[in-house]
Assembly symmetry: C2
Homo-oligomer: 139 residues x 2
């Protein structure tokens, strides 16, 4: 199995509100927005929003679930200042700051925000991660 | 906020077993494996395995959670045959097949497997998705 991924799909309760969150707060552009599913094209793959009941049904599992979803998403920026600036920007737009950024034990600088349905986004500066000009992880 | 992602972190109960699953069953190579965290470098970002209690603590949220995690991961291949072949391969290695592949309403061909802790991976052929030679989503 090739070591890559094509989609991350978030099962959502309110598709329209979640789409608006990613468009209005994160400033992202949709790649596809019809037939009850929304795609955002990220670096080499799609972040998809799809109603949680339909996602569970597609996978033939129960949609019942509560509490911590057991995963986080992260974007790494190029400096502590970029992290601070993004937190300021998102905070001013009313995005829920779960953990304000601060220096962390592994040598980086990181905090967390949540989208409208408690999917957690870490926003970090990681001095050990080499990024391409397009923001892909090189090593 | 740039429209990209650097990490997906899966909160795991058994780090060693989950690492072995991705190495032995998916055939992936680790990128980093020390200090209680495991990285796999995918296409432009890292899939990370980290103990779920530590992940929740890092995000300052409760680690309590049960049932459907509300997300799926997917890899798109180049044909129905590639999907069938990968299901055969994974099935022969004892990977849990959640949904055997079949034609789906949106025009593709798809099924699901689960890792040891019920993270769902869809394996699909999507005739509408254009992939680069490296497997990045082009459009």
């Amino acid at each position: 199995m090739e070591q890559r991924l094509s989609f991350i799909t978030l099962g959502v309760k309110d598709l329209q509100a979640m789409k608006e969150f990613y468009v209005d707060k994160f400033g992202w552009k949709t790649h596809h927005d019809e037939n009850g599913i929304v795609f955002f094209k990220l670096n080499g793959f799609i972040l998809s929003l799809f109603p949680v009941e339909e996602l569970a049904e597609d996978a033939t599992v129960s949609a019942d679930g509560q509490g911590f979803k057991g995963f986080t998403l992260a974007i790494c920026l190029n400096s502590e200042k970029e992290v601070d600036d993004l937190f300021s920007d998102l905070g001013s737009k009313g995005v829920k700051v779960v953990k304000a950024p601060h220096k962390v034990f592994w040598g980086g600088y990181s905090g967390y925000v949540a989208d409208l349905e408690d999917n957690l986004w870490e926003i970090a500066w990681n001095p050990f991660l080499e990024l391409s000009p397009e923001g892909n992880v090189l090593k």
